[in-house]
Symmetry: C2
Subunit: 428 residues, 2 copies
């Protein structure tokens, strides 16, 4: 089978992932040809600046600054530049001439995936982006293919390694957010500007991609309700732990009768839940489907080699399809379920209150819950010489709107000093 | 896209899985057509006996006892009869006429997979069997496709729900094997004749399938070194637990420089390892790859609905390929790595000995290890009024041959009453 076709591969970008992809293409050429049914010839590596320090082990004649020229000759384009432009322009140019594209660009796919998928279908090209979500973990293909004969009801993932490292360290050591963030930056687990990670934006892009595939629809990252972890305190983590929970930043895509909801926020997860056992910078995606039941996919969420593994899986898949002579249709959008307003979704709240330590306080608080139709699952009080009286209240399920207005009314109560924290609870 | 092609689907077998597959094909017909790019028309369900009690909700006119007649008309055949024959004969007949086949028949694929794959390739048909390993968990496709650009070094799975239920219950309750087996039988987690499960044979078939896909080769279930869990005692479980381990029945496919090894045995797994957190009848497969690092896939390993989900994922995949006009080549066997003798593989032993409680015993035992070139990682002694002195010895890595001859020499020692247990340790 091998050797019949020879595919010209252009690589855009040569950072940690790109350099490893180039090495694999060069070193494993024979094996890849045998597995793909087509030869994969790396014809060039486009970089921004030829003078920049580059992997000395790679053939220097492959490097070029002429990305458009490289794309013009290629059958397969691997985009690992990141960012919106020129990556988006290059991908569009490749697909428009019928070349297939593999990318790990989550921000771009989360914003323009539908448009680029349509362009691919129109020109008989393939667009694959397994590396965009959860690094090495094969998650997009299982969702799009293996579960294609099932109905996915919920996807719930720890898809950002930096925030999981931080929350896990806070849980293990009791340290404060700022201290752990500084440590994560020193260790290279967090960037100098950590906003995209700790603000939940990276997770939101991945949530949009997961939702689009799981529900055969189009969700853009702009439609994801997003809350980061910057306001999670050591006290929250300790109180959650005492109640048998751990706090995780979750990317959630959920389907209900009325429509779908896609959201990112820090949430309490019971210690016995499989997601609670995901430590350090690891990622995991929990999937609930009508027939399959509960599934979990676990692995390294980032890093040059793991991400290169995901890219190469897509490269072989693309090559196999080209070798077989007919590209598969790109994921069809069979329905467009309504995206629910965040206020309409059902969730559970865990509310921390600083209250006056006097008779009648509990009754006043319970009354507010009752008036808003929110029922309480459990309430625990802690009185501390320094901090005063603190209440932690876990609610039963209610709409975001009802829960939010309950919290607002609690704030107005004379007996309540302040709301210490409001967090959601996920995974029963 | 949908409605352009109409594929005739024949279902062989209508047990728990088959009935659910039939329901999905009938109830979700429109959605499946949209996702596949081809209509899927269930043309008949072949059963052994028309008088047997059947799902009353399914159209009775679909049932027939004429499997060969049904196959003759079909584009896609779903084989859910189980057992070697006539299932093997039917699958061969379907593939030979160019019809694609989906099966969950692990015993058949583990023994005749290579032959059937060759038949499929020869006739341009597809053969898929995701349901054969670990029920609903998408594991074969991630191994064969997502990791196709990586090198898998080890696959280590809890792939038999019955034995995991039994070992987990022994670990949780301290009960003996026979008592837990009886309970599992009463709960329906174990069959009246549990030999295939507790003897490790079911896991061995799955190990053969996993090894064949992970290493692009052909391993038959007959080549798998297999040991079941019938000799695991409550004392083993308790001693392992005290040392920070849990005992799991593992299906292992491993690649070393010299060749590959495929084996099934109960092994000690450290409590902090992801596989240790797999409870009850759940399944999980741990995969180590050069670039991807450690991955784990977790979910329900059996049951009508989960298995039907895996079958339907394969049905959609087959239909998409047919709709696209060209079947993908079936998994190519690019190399045939040597299958190592069990004696040649490296492993670690955990040995329980009943010994005389007298001076010089430890020295005599340590000398035996030294003479066989096996080094000891840790040794712990427990003296019990009833049981006498017991030693638990954990070795460093050594070949099976060296470890086995060490145990043989220990048995011959005057100071050793008997060998209580020998178990391997996996997952560092």
């Amino acid at each position: 089978m091998s050797g019949e076709k020879n595919l010209k591969v252009a690589l855009l970008g040569c950072g940690t992932v790109g350099a490893q992809v180039a090495r694999i293409l060069l070193e494993d050429a024979n094996e890849l040809a045998a597995r793909s049914g087509a030869g994969l010839q790396l014809i060039g590596i486009a970089v921004r600046n030829l003078d920049a320090k580059r992997d000395a082990a790679l053939p220097q004649e492959l490097f070029t600054t002429d990305a458009p020229g490289l794309i013009a000759q290629a059958d397969v384009v691997i985009e690992l530049l990141g960012g919106m432009e020129p990556a988006g322009e290059y991908i569009a140019a490749a697909l428009s001439k019928g070349a297939s594209v593999i990318t790990g660009n989550k921000a771009l796919i989360a914003l323009k995936g539908a448009e680029l998928n349509a362009l691919a279908s129109q020109h008989g090209a393939q667009l694959r982006y397994e590396a965009a979500v959860a690094g090495a973990i094969p998650i997009l293909r299982p969702i799009a293919d293996s579960l294609a004969g099932d109905h996915i009801t919920k996807v719930m993932g720890i898809v950002n390694g930096t925030t999981n490292f931080i929350l896990d360290a806070m849980d293990t050591t009791g340290a404060a957010f700022d201290d752990v963030l500084a440590e994560a930056q020193a260790l290279g687990y967090a960037e100098a500007d950590p906003t995209a990670d700790v603000g939940g934006h990276d997770a939101a892009a991945k949530a949009a991609i997961l939702a689009s595939l799981a529900f055969h629809t189009t969700v853009s990252s702009e439609q994801v309700s997003t809350q980061g972890i910057t306001e999670v305190t050591a006290a929250d983590v300790a109180a959650a732990s005492a109640a048998g929970y751990v706090i995780k930043l979750l990317a959630i895509a959920e389907r209900a009768e009325a429509g779908i909801s896609v959201r990112v926020y820090p949430a309490l997860v019971r210690r016995s839940h499989p997601l609670a056992t995901v430590h350090g910078a690891f990622n995991a995606v929990f999937v609930e489907a009508e027939n399959a039941g509960d599934l979990m996919f676990y692995g390294a969420g980032a890093g040059g080699n793991p991400t290169a593994s995901a890219v190469m899986g897509d490269v072989v898949a693309v090559a196999r399809q080209i070798a077989a002579g007919a590209p598969l249709p790109n994921g069809s959008v069979s329905q467009a379920p309504r995206l629910l307003d965040f206020e309409a979704i059902d969730t559970r709240y865990w509310i921390g209150l600083s209250v006056k330590d006097q008779p009648g306080v509990l009754a006043a608080i319970a009354t507010v819950f009752g008036e808003h139709g929110v029922s309480i699952e459990s309430m625990s009080q802690q009185v501390d010489a320094e901090a005063g009286a603190q209440l932690r209240i876990l609610t039963h399920q209610g709409t975001e709107a009802a829960l939010a207005s309950t919290v607002e009314a609690l704030t107005a109560l004379d007996a309540v000093h302040c709301v210490l924290s409001v967090m959601r609870v996920e995974g029963n």
